[in-house]
């Protein structure tokens, strides 16, 4: 297992909320990638977390870009480096977007970037809603969650649509590498990101990044939530390398989903039968993932 490098490219003094998963996501990612990294960041929490002009807490070049453009912006930076003769293995171009910027408004630019084979790592740090604007639902908000635009109220209008499976979306582009990673398992996260760095072509990393503010969870249990998500198979840790699935962290004892849900205020309203339905769906997805792993490794 990879060690967590001591080098820090993210300084103290962010504007992140206490217990912010996205802050850990950036910190570990930079530890994995090192100084020779250029990052494209659209509108998202990370447009604010580094600090406001003229302050900045990251020791790498940052390019802020419009909300829906991360993939295109990454292609632009990579093309400029190509024009200057800079090898993609020398400088890593990263697109670092939230779930909205990746899976919703940014999905077209992401798709274009992957399809045209830009040598880049496109990262979705997933806090499962539009958190920077104040907890509005996104395509990555899971079924059953409260957000400010899926309020509970008398109409029980919590989110009734499933979470968009971005790993499958990107895999459909035939890219060489995609992986889910979690800040609850930093060594594994660093290992997978370093692996992505060395593979030519477009790569995708899905980082699970809890948001205590939006999830209505205790800021002190962010890492615990990450581990529970993996152990309950809500967020399985797996990679897809040239189409082959590999679940790289299988839970020894699969825990019930309710143990994960009950620590978050955003699921507090769910009746027993809904929790059971979520459990069934998680089981089904997990079984399917196991079969994909089996099938693609035959």
């Amino acid at each position: 297992m990879a060690k967590v490098p001591e080098m820090e490219l993210m300084n103290k003094g962010t504007t992140a909320c206490p217990g912010c998963g996205a802050a850990h996501a950036m910190r570990y990612m930079l530890k994995a990638l090192g100084k020779k990294t250029m990052i494209n960041i659209p509108a998202c929490c990370w447009a604010v977390i580094p600090g406001v002009y003229p302050s900045r807490n990251l020791e790498i070049p940052l390019l802020y870009t419009a909300f829906e453009t991360t993939g295109a912006s990454s292609s632009g930076v990579r093309a400029a480096l190509n024009a200057k003769g800079v090898d993609p293995r020398e400088i890593t171009v990263v697109g670092f977007a939230g779930d909205g910027g990746t899976a919703d408004i940014g999905i077209q630019a992401l798709s274009g970037c992957l399809e045209r084979g830009t040598d880049t790592i496109q990262v979705m740090y997933d806090n499962e809603a539009y958190m920077n604007t104040g907890i509005q639902r996104s395509g990555e908000t899971p079924y059953g969650a409260w957000t400010t635009t899926t309020p509970v109220g008398s109409q029980k209008a919590w989110k009734k649509n499933p979470k968009k499976n971005m790993m499958e979306v990107v895999n459909a582009h035939g890219i060489p590498y995609a992986a889910t990673v979690s800040i609850g398992h930093p060594e594994l996260m660093i290992e997978k990101i370093q692996k992505a760095k060395d593979i030519p072509g477009p790569k995708f990393i899905h980082i699970y990044a809890p948001c205590p503010t939006g999830w209505r969870s205790d800021p002190s249990i962010t890492i615990e939530l990450c581990k529970l998500a993996v152990d309950s198979c809500v967020f399985p840790l797996y990679e897809i390398e040239y189409g082959e699935y590999k679940i790289y962290k299988k839970p020894k004892n699969k825990i019930p989903v309710k143990d994960y849900l009950k620590l978050q205020g955003r699921f507090r309203h769910l009746p027993q039968e809904e929790v059971e339905m979520i459990q069934k769906n998680v089981d089904k997805e997990w079984e399917l993932l196991l079969k994909k792993e089996e099938f693609t490794n035959e």
């Binding site: 406001v52 070049p61 940052l62 419009a66 295109a72 632009g76 930076v77």
Partner: protein, 397 residues
């Protein structure tokens, strides 16, 4: 060696980008711009043009990629038209806010609905507030010249702004004219490689475009305004230099055609200017004291030049190939702004040729005769739509 080629406006744009040694091209096809992207693709594929060509999935991404490439220190180029340009809107503003000298060619085309692919200036003029310099070309040669010049102007440290070099759909984009394709060495001498002071650099990590609080934002905006104020002089300086190197005057801010001491000044933009100049000649032969100002640079708007040009003029007749609803023709309105408090002159706005409606010498002559007649009868209407179905008889007779 420079050589004469018979090429379309679109090919001229592509050759302009090639001669400018553009390092990154990001573009998406749209009628009538497609030949630009096709020609560049061909030049790159044949190894005649050393550029990274990003085949993006939308115009929005085209400008986003150009912005990113420019931020990383590369000379970037794109081309679009009408709906593609409208889709880019957010990024046009971004490019100027980020102070990036991205140059693009826009083929002036009408906006739908109803769908139209023909000449109209509304697409470009709807972007007049985005912080782009805007150059309206009259000929294919000017398209090529203006692309090269635009980089020189925009990359100047006092300017650092994006630009649009625009040509009329089909009338220039698809019509072939003799164009001098300059010797590369000559262009290299005129246009040095792009080497910005600040760019993405792992050894000197900086952040570009971060959050600016109210105590900073306004000052950044003022810096852009300052650059726009410096732009007219810079444009004329580069225009002069261009003429010295290439022996051709692309027109600066306003091209003055027989304007000395005229009573009536006609103002045009883009491709109708050539036909209009012939009509001016005809009218002058008939004894009318009339001249033509071709508004080449719409942004920055040449305020001072219009004030000078209208000294002693009785009537200004402006032909606008665009109409901003609830306001009027863009050029006429801006000229009025420029003249307010400086000139007491009759100004009439003629809305002409929208959506590619043909502008024959006959129609142009009738417009100019109408402007001339205002000297005696005074202003009848501030804005007149020319050659509509309901008034065609009058303008075509």
């Amino acid at each position: 060696m420079s050589e004469m080629k018979i090429v379309s406006g679109n090919f001229a744009a592509a050759y302009g980008a090639k001669l400018s040694r553009v390092e990154v091209v990001a573009a998406y096809p749209i009628t009538p711009q497609t030949e630009v992207v096709e020609k560049i693709a061909e030049l790159v594929a044949e190894g005649e043009m050393d550029s990274e060509y990003i085949k993006v999935e939308s115009e929005h991404s085209a400008m986003a990629a150009c912005i990113a490439a420019s931020n990383a220190g590369a000379r970037a180029y794109t081309a679009s038209s009408a709906h593609g340009l409208a889709l880019m809107h957010e990024l046009l503003i971004w490019a100027s806010g980020a102070r990036l000298p991205v140059v693009m060619t826009n083929i002036n085309r009408a906006m739908g609905p109803p769908w139209s692919v023909w000449a109209d200036h509304h697409d470009t003029l709807a972007q007049k507030g985005t912080g782009q310099l805007q150059f309206f070309c009259e000929s294919n040669q000017e398209v090529l010249d203006s692309v090269i010049m635009a980089y020189k102007i925009c990359e100047d440290e006092d300017i650092m702004l994006p630009a649009m070099v625009v040509e009329d759909a089909f009338i220039l984009s698809h019509t072939k004219e003799p164009v001098e394709i300059y010797d590369q060495e000559l262009v290299d001498e005129f246009l040095p490689s792009y080497d910005p002071d600040y760019k993405l650099d792992v050894d000197q990590p900086l952040g570009f475009g971060s959050l600016g609080m109210p105590d900073w934002y306004m000052d950044f905006r003022y810096k852009i305004a300052e650059a726009f104020e410096k732009a007219p002089d810079k444009i004329m300086e580069v225009n002069k230099e261009f003429e010295e190197v290439f022996g051709r005057d692309p027109g600066g801010l306003i091209e003055k055609y027989k304007t000395d001491g005229v009573d009536v000044l006609i103002v045009t933009m883009g491709s109708i200017s050539s036909t209009s100049k012939d009509v001016i000649d005809e009218l002058r032969e008939e004894g009318h004291n009339v001249g033509l100002a071709r508004l080449r640079t719409f942004r920055p708007f040449p305020v001072e030049e219009f004030r000078k040009l209208t000294k002693g003029v009785n009537v200004v007749g402006v032909m606008d190939r665009s109409y901003t609803f609830g306001h009027g023709g863009d050029a006429a309105r801006e000229i009025k702004d420029a003249l307010y408090g400086h000139r007491d002159v009759i100004l009439k706005d003629y809305i002409v040729g929208l959506g590619g409606r043909d502008l024959t010498p006959k129609i142009l002559k009738n417009v100019m005769l109408d402007a001339i007649s205002l000297q005696d009868k005074g202003l009848d209407k501030e804005i007149e739509w020319v050659d509509l179905k309901i008034n065609q008889e009058r303008w075509r007779r």
